[in-house]
């Protein structure tokens, strides 16, 4: 079994704030991340794909196809955006990196069959690096 991992990057702003909590509770829970004007990160997104190796091409995945899928579904809509205001899924969902990982997974899974019509490769996992010190891993099989 092979797993191929491709690293992508985008820069975006966000604010961690839950409407279900009071202003004080939000400040206490999210700290600096609750700053009303928001703040930003250089996000890294590692997309891992698993499957057998095609004996003829020696490849598990056509990288150009993966690159195009990720560009269209993730990088273009997220690059230099305010995630809370400009990505509709985060209108009512706090854009933590946990939720960002889930959203990226959903976006890729939704269009996966169009990009890769055969049984392989499968999306294996998404790994979000919010900063070089905070890493969030989401297994694709665990996401609806």
């Amino acid at each position: 079994m092979f797993r191929v991992t491709r690293r992508y990057a985008f820069a975006a702003s966000h604010r961690l704030h839950s409407d279900a909590l009071s202003a004080e509770e939000n400040r206490e829970l999210y700290g600096k991340c609750n700053n009303p004007y928001g703040h930003g990160h250089n996000y890294l997104v590692d997309v891992s794909v698993r499957g057998p190796r095609d004996a003829a091409t020696g490849q598990t995945v056509e990288i150009a196809v993966l690159d195009e899928l990720v560009r269209r579904e993730v990088l273009t809509p997220f690059e230099h955006r305010n995630l809370n205001r400009e990505v509709p899924e985060f209108a009512g969902v706090v854009p933590t990196s946990e939720n960002l990982g889930v959203e990226i997974c959903r976006r890729l899974k939704r269009k996966w069959g169009q990009a890769f019509p055969g049984p392989w490769p499968k999306l294996d996992k998404i790994c979000i690096g919010e900063t070089p010190r905070n890493i969030f891993e989401v297994k694709a099989d665990e996401i609806e």
């Binding site: 092979f2 020696g58 598990t60 990288i63």
Partner: protein, 141 residues
């Protein structure tokens, strides 16, 4: 327990299948199909799984592992044109997957046994692209 050692080599390669047209090769391999070749600084992570020896406290003597990696990877691969100088790439396209597979085949007989086995090979072609190979296990759903 899993222990991992890294090793680096620099090499050139070209990804093209001589049975296919220029256009097909370009579609499948992109810029890597340039017939004159190009190169990378490859980084390989070799992971070995086993229990620490009760006397030495080690899964595997790292000096021994270093010598094996030097002999089996660096000597044949470093500063070579893979397609022309390293079998099996005279017959197989040197994609990152095929390089991981070849390294696995070179290392497995040297590392398996004495309560330990080769666990995974990770090959970075660039910092943005790497392949993990876990042996000939069936692909799980």
């Amino acid at each position: 327990m899993v222990i991992t050692r890294k090793v680096e080599f620099s090499a050139s390669h070209v990804c093209r299948d001589p049975r296919l047209s220029d256009q097909e090769n370009q579609r499948i391999y992109g810029m890597a199909a340039n017939p004159h070749g190009h190169g990378h600084n490859y980084l390989v992570e070799v992971s070995v799984k086993g229990d620490p020896d009760p006397v030495t406290g080690m899964v595997l003597d790292l000096k021994e592992l270093k010598a094996i990696l030097e002999r089996e990877i660096v000597e044949p691969y470093d500063h070579r044109f893979l397609n022309y100088e390293v079998a099996p790439f005279d017959k197989q396209v040197p994609t990152t997957e095929n390089i991981a597979l070849d390294i696995w085949r070179r290392l497995q007989p040297q590392l398996n046994g004495r309560g330990r086995k080769l666990h995974a090979i990770r090959v970075y072609e660039t910092p943005d692209l790497y392949v993990d190979y876990f042996g000939e296990s069936e692909c799980s759903e």
